[in-house]
Subunit: 212 residues, 2 copies
DNA sequence: CGGCGAGCTTTACCTATGGTACAGTAAGCT
DNA sequence: AGCTTACTGTACCATAGGTAAAGCTCGCCG
């Protein structure tokens, strides 16, 4: 805080062991799942000993929480940025949303093998291995997506009243649902194009639903 | 085969140990995941020893495969039955499909906590722990859903040509995607109503897409 | 310059779990 | 009677997560 106003500037030999542990862990968890990622493997990868790991993380559960927290922050920033860019290009709420969805689909398509979002779903499916904090973090994150999309839809509805009544929560959840499901499907079929195509299909659905 | 034409009638002391192992395993896997379900726990539950388990299953991977195979068969039977019932009620392909979707949503809503389908997704997310056979089984199952729904949509399109071109594979996959994602969401938010509502929303989408 | 504390290492050890090997045994089938 | 099925029992191994505690070392602060 005093000597350097930027970063704590590496107390010691390694530049940022904790961060390197998290980076490697994220990469391995996305590639092969949490349980298949061993602590020994991680410490060997960053060049420390097992005790060094437990200096940074209380246990493996603690690592999972740190991974999830970091993931949630990044995801929110990414979405904020994406919607901001879409809104800058567009005044109309519906058009802005449709642009954002297209941007999102393009981003998903451009991504390599490992998709983000897997972290959340991966941990969700193994959440009995973890404590409640992990589960609650996950739920909180999903709910924040619901709120974000519901607000968007509320604005769209004001401008484009739909012909039939729409379940706004369900429509908002559909986005998260398609992402989580799309990741599962993409993984099962080894076809990364599935998720972006589902997002584009959702986009069609939204467009149809609020068409003038 | 000779003495009893009904069931093999319990070779020995237990009625059907293998089935009881599978039943308990399924229940525990749905409740807390595959890795959190220990072999010791299963054998204690059905009243045999660890060696007894390895008599029935080569290893834990073999148990996973048996679980998945049984699940896939049941799922197919369930879907066959559901579509058959919907078709009996209806001649029109679109209407039949919509009825089937409603039946499906009702079934999902009526289900208790543990949904089927979790098995597939659960194993999918931990598939690096298993051998290729598990992964291929899963992919095969997902593809069979795609084929089933695509055929349905092809028949619907013949009767109700859509205004805009539709990506049939993506539309077919959307069902599986919403189911897998809906299970993740329902699990994360502890809200079993999410999946049936997503199915009903999908139904709306299909109805809109093929409306006359 | 000396000590404190952050960030580790070293050593040692415990437990749970999956898994192997193999001998033995009771009940049924032919 | 003898083969097979469906186990039990005993013994043992490896891997992984985790704990405990002492020691070392570099940078910073006074």
């Amino acid at each position: 805080m005093s000597s350097s106003q930027f970063e704590p500037l590496s107390r010691r030999r390694s530049v940022d062991t904790r961060k390197r542990l998290l980076d490697l862990a994220e990469q391995q968890v996305l590639a092969k799942g949490f349980v298949a990622t061993s602590i020994e493997e991680l410490v060997a990868g960053v060049g420390i000993t097992k005790s060094g790991f437990f200096y940074h993380f209380k246990d493996k559960n603690d690592l999972a929480r740190a991974l999830l927290e970091r993931h949630i922050v990044r995801e929110r920033e990414l979405l904020d940025d994406l919607f901001r860019r879409a809104d800058e290009l567009n005044d109309d709420p519906l058009h802005g949303f449709l642009v954002a969805l297209r941007l999102f689909a393009e981003m998903m398509a451009a991504l390599p093998e490992a998709h983000p979002g897997c972290i959340a779903a991966t941990l969700c499916y193994q959440d009995q291995l973890f404590d409640r904090t992990i589960h609650e973090l996950n739920a909180q994150s999903v709910l924040s997506w619901r709120v974000r999309f519901r607000e968007r839809f509320a604005r769209i509805i004001a401008a484009y009243p739909p012909a039939e009544p729409v379940d706004l929560n369900a429509l908002a959840d559909m986005m998260s649902t398609l992402i989580e499901g799309g990741l599962v499907m993409g993984r099962a079929l080894r076809d990364p194009s599935i998720l972006p195509r589902q997002v584009l299909l959702f986009r069609d659905f939204v467009r149809q639903t609020f068409r003038p």
